[in-house]
Homo-oligomer: 215 residues x 2
């Protein structure tokens, strides 16, 4: 049985869970809070990050590495394109989401509006959220919008590129911020297409319940 | 003809060049200084980072994405393991080098000792270098040493794992710091084995010349 060490609302854990659900793979989620000083977890995650995959005692950290491993061991249905250039493009958008998007959405929006108030009794600094929405995110969304153009997905068919970008947008949605469909119609359309997939909708519903219990 | 936009002493550019040389692929290096406000470069590198690969007008940023593309299009000789778990392990060490190692070796050692003095007329702050060598790097090296154990390479045969880790160590060597072979014999041995490869030795010699011209 596959195990995923992590917590649902992490965009990196969600990436992996979406792939597991899309591939119809059974797995168990082992809750772990990163940075909580858990020594057993530090041993399997040298950078202290979630998620970590566990399979028959073998462990592997890093969402991108885990997903590539799942694709290699359970290729059908595929979440990476076959064509070499499309595959590179998909991996690039995964990297873009996992570095550029998360660096704004994580600390400035999701942590301010959700994690701080719900788990650390901290008030949200709305000026940080506004700067993120009004100044930091628009150039990143402009770039993705331009790359999407009139296509439904970022790299051919639905792929890890779309999963990675939308996973970050789901954290924004949990913080009550949606992509402005008037300004970025292609990106807002991509978001809608991905969150309507049964595998993704199930996970979002589960995460919402978690927040409601914490509130 | 393949083109690589970047400069030789970047550990990420070097990773890609080592792979190109190991695969005997002809390429042209197009010098670009990241952060120099070059608009044409910004258009092909949305995060402003080097290297960027160019092939017949098609471009792709990110060293890890580029190397995976080169492996897909020019598989022989391979720089990734075939076995799925070894492949995951190799990708994990690539990520570890590209995040954990570079975050210390880049700003605290290479920028202090080499880039600042040679290119920006800035004196080196030796206390920053000492803290990096004495405190920040040892736990990272301990981890790699333990993972290497008595093996010659990190993930089976010579692979992208070894290229990525040693590329960072080469920046340390340019800054006159070598891995302490008494404390980390396996890692020092790995370094020696990789820098003696003709492809790698050629690149290091070329980089040294660059620094001598700048000094």
């Amino acid at each position: 049985m596959l195990k995923i060490h992590g917590i649902g609302p992490s965009p990196f854990v969600r990436k992996v869970r979406i792939v597991l659900e899309e591939k119809n793979l059974a797995y168990e989620l082992k809750p772990i809070m990163p940075g909580a000083g858990d020594e057993a977890f530090a041993a399997i995650s040298p950078l202290g990050k979630i998620p970590v995959l566990e399979e028959d005692g073998w462990t592997m950290p890093d969402s991108s590495v885990i997903i590539a491993y799942l694709e290699a061991t359970h290729p059908d249905p595929a979440v990476y394109p076959v064509d070499a250039r499309l595959l590179a493009r998909a991996r690039w958008f995964e990297e873009y989401a996992d570095t550029a998007l998360v660096s704004v959405i994580g600390p400035d929006i999701f942590r301010q509006r959700v994690v701080g108030p719900a788990f650390f009794g901290k008030d949200c600094d709305e000026s940080v959220v506004r700067t993120a929405i009004d100044e930091k995110l628009p150039p990143l969304f402009d770039y993705i919008e331009g790359e999407l153009g009139s296509n439904d997905y970022l790299a051919g068919d639905f792929s890890i590129a779309d999963i990675s970008v939308v996973s970050m947008l789901i954290n924004m949605a949990h913080a009550s911020e949606l992509v402005d469909g008037a300004r970025w119609p292609a990106l807002a359309g991509l978001y809608q297409r991905v969150v309507e997939r049964p595998a993704v909708a199930r996970l979002i519903a589960e995460e919402r319940e978690l927040f409601q219990r914490a509130a």
